[in-house]
């Protein structure tokens, strides 16, 4: 294998100049840089990245945990996040290392090993939760990270915790109001068991906007595990109420699809449904859904970690003068399920082609 000396000899420069071309090309005159680069190419010299990392203690790599697959519909939003992260990281010459973990503690084992090996410069945490041990550990150990998800139950403005999140409360509030503007008189809600940071916020948004009186709200809200069949069961119990709802906002597209199926099976075509996450399933079946602005989420996360460009980790500011978090507003994507009779739902896409 050719060495740095071989390159220096062929390019008729010093060993240090070769090293400069590789590590700090901006300080080398262009003609020299071209000559050295030609020598590197013709010899097939490979500057060893591990050696470079050993010198610089920088890997230009971010680490992300991806969960084992659970529900294929709602999990899709995190896959979309990962794709967008890989794309935007690439434009900053950053790599993305993924790993899987059984739980938060197992994730921390991975984090520790990757940090100890200088394999990654920073981490992106997905899906924070109440009492999340990862945030405390990463903060205490000065490991740079940003989370997609706010610090539930902890101080929102701790400058040591950089985070980006989407305001699900605002999204559900907007969806509930839109349904009422389209004529719905009793908008119910299907969400997840409390405490769930994300779920509780979404339910709060419904509570702020629904025209159902406060004293009746508990009867019109359901808390179930995420999934199509639990959405169906919850919607069935809502439809069995004496004053059944004429619209349901759901905390996920899986639950919403379940609600649509329940309405169909119970022959209640006039039930309006809105989901959350704007998954491909929602687009395919004509389900209105609240869309998270993932491009903006990823851009904000990388900016908080690395600044407006480049891939050098920024130190955390010591005060709150500079914001270290961003709360983004989602957008309601309206389709037939919030306007028309669900009977027409499955014809939604094709009718556009006539």
């Amino acid at each position: 294998m050719p060495t740095v000396e071989d390159v220096a000899e062929l390019a008729q420069v010093s060993r240090q100049t070769v090293s400069n071309v590789i590590n700090s090309p901006e300080i080398v005159r262009e003609s020299t840089r071209t000559r050295v680069q030609e020598a590197i190419d013709s010899l097939g010299y490979r500057p060893h990245a591990s050696a470079r990392r050993l010198r610089t203690r920088k890997s230009s790599t971010i680490g992300v945990r991806i969960d084992p697959l659970r529900d294929g519909i709602s999990g899709a939003v995190l896959d979309r996040f990962l794709h967008k992260l890989a794309e935007q990281a690439d434009s900053r010459d950053l790599r993305v290392m993924i790993f899987t973990a059984r739980d938060a503690d197992d994730e921390l084992q991975h984090v520790r090993r990757l940090r100890d090996g200088s394999d990654v410069d920073a981490f992106v945490l997905i899906a924070t939760f109440h009492g999340d041990p990862r945030i405390e550990w990463l903060t205490e150990n000065d490991v740079p990270f940003v989370s997609f998800g706010r610090p539930w139950g902890a101080e929102l403005d701790d400058p040591r915790h950089r985070w980006v999140d989407v305001d699900g409360r605002a999204g559900v509030r907007e969806a509930t109001r839109a349904l009422q503007q389209h004529g719905a008189r009793r908008v119910a809600f299907i969400g997840w068991p409390s405490p769930s940071g994300t779920g509780d916020e979404r339910r709060a948004g419904w509570g702020e906007a629904t025209s159902i009186p406060a004293r009746d709200r508990a009867r019109y809200a359901r808390e179930v595990e995420d999934g199509v069949s639990s959405g169906t069961a919850a919607a069935e119990s809502l439809l069995a109420l004496e004053d059944a709802p004429d619209a349901i906002v759901c905390a996920s597209d899986s639950l919403a699809l379940g609600a649509m199926l329940a309405a169909r099976a119970a022959s209640v075509p006039e039930l309006r449904v809105v989901g959350f996450d704007n998954t491909p399933v929602a687009a395919a079946v004509g389900l209105s859904s609240i869309d998270q602005p993932l491009d903006d989420v990823v851009a904000a996360a990388l900016t908080l970690l690395f600044g407006d460009s480049g891939n050098n980790v920024r130190p955390n500011p010591n005060s709150n003068e500079e914001p270290t978090n961003r709360l983004l507003v989602p957008r309601l994507v309206e389709r037939r399920s919030s306007h028309l009779m669900p009977d027409e739902i499955t014809g939604a896409q094709s009718s556009g082609n006539h």
Copy 2:
């Protein structure tokens, strides 16, 4: 930061013994190993992975390109593949580095940089195609890789190319036969424009099994870009035939969902539809679909690269004595869309709960 010397002093062993505990623990007596490990832990010494990689030229990392998002439904199968790859890699103590690329040439630039930096030991290629330049480049440059996808248009048994693929032809053949056993008399096909390695195979499977006479088959096959709306348009043109088909097998769930929507819009509830990839959408709307055994695909890919266990890349065998590829058989998952009237389709899930 503590150094290896600090550890040696605290554990009262030589520097070499510390190094052995880190790099070749199996040659160190257990009592010594425990003492050194305790010293490492109490000092917080971090053996630097970059230094280790520099010595061993091994990163225990595999590289995978993920595509920018296109169709959210059919693309989901590659996300599922990635999740399973991350899980199975973890159990071998392998990491996964992901990167994105605009096209095959751009991907090769990434591959070259990752290889040059010893950042990855091997690559997993997804979605091979005719004249795929990656395969030739990786083979010529002795970069270890395995592809999920066979070498289209090239020698299948070249021992330098390790690959795993799913026999889509067999899958579509089985689906076509199943539809005919359920009473379908004219099974049509909607697939992708030729040449497409995967698409041509799936269409060939239909041709081998459909009861439509060979001379009429071209009339009952459509070639369109993947997507829900193109599936709808293709199904509409099939339903407009004088002897319209009573069943359609599609090369993807996106096309199949489009066909279901077309049948509903045209009030042809008796049309049976089968998709491909068994995506979450298929499960949610009761669409029968051909399922790729991704657990087996990932296990076979890692075994071809690394052997039955561990994470040392195996050299390619020099002859064909040892198989360097695996063709796995998919499985038809039958739901209402291949049995019952599509009118009942959207009630499929909820009716199970009554």
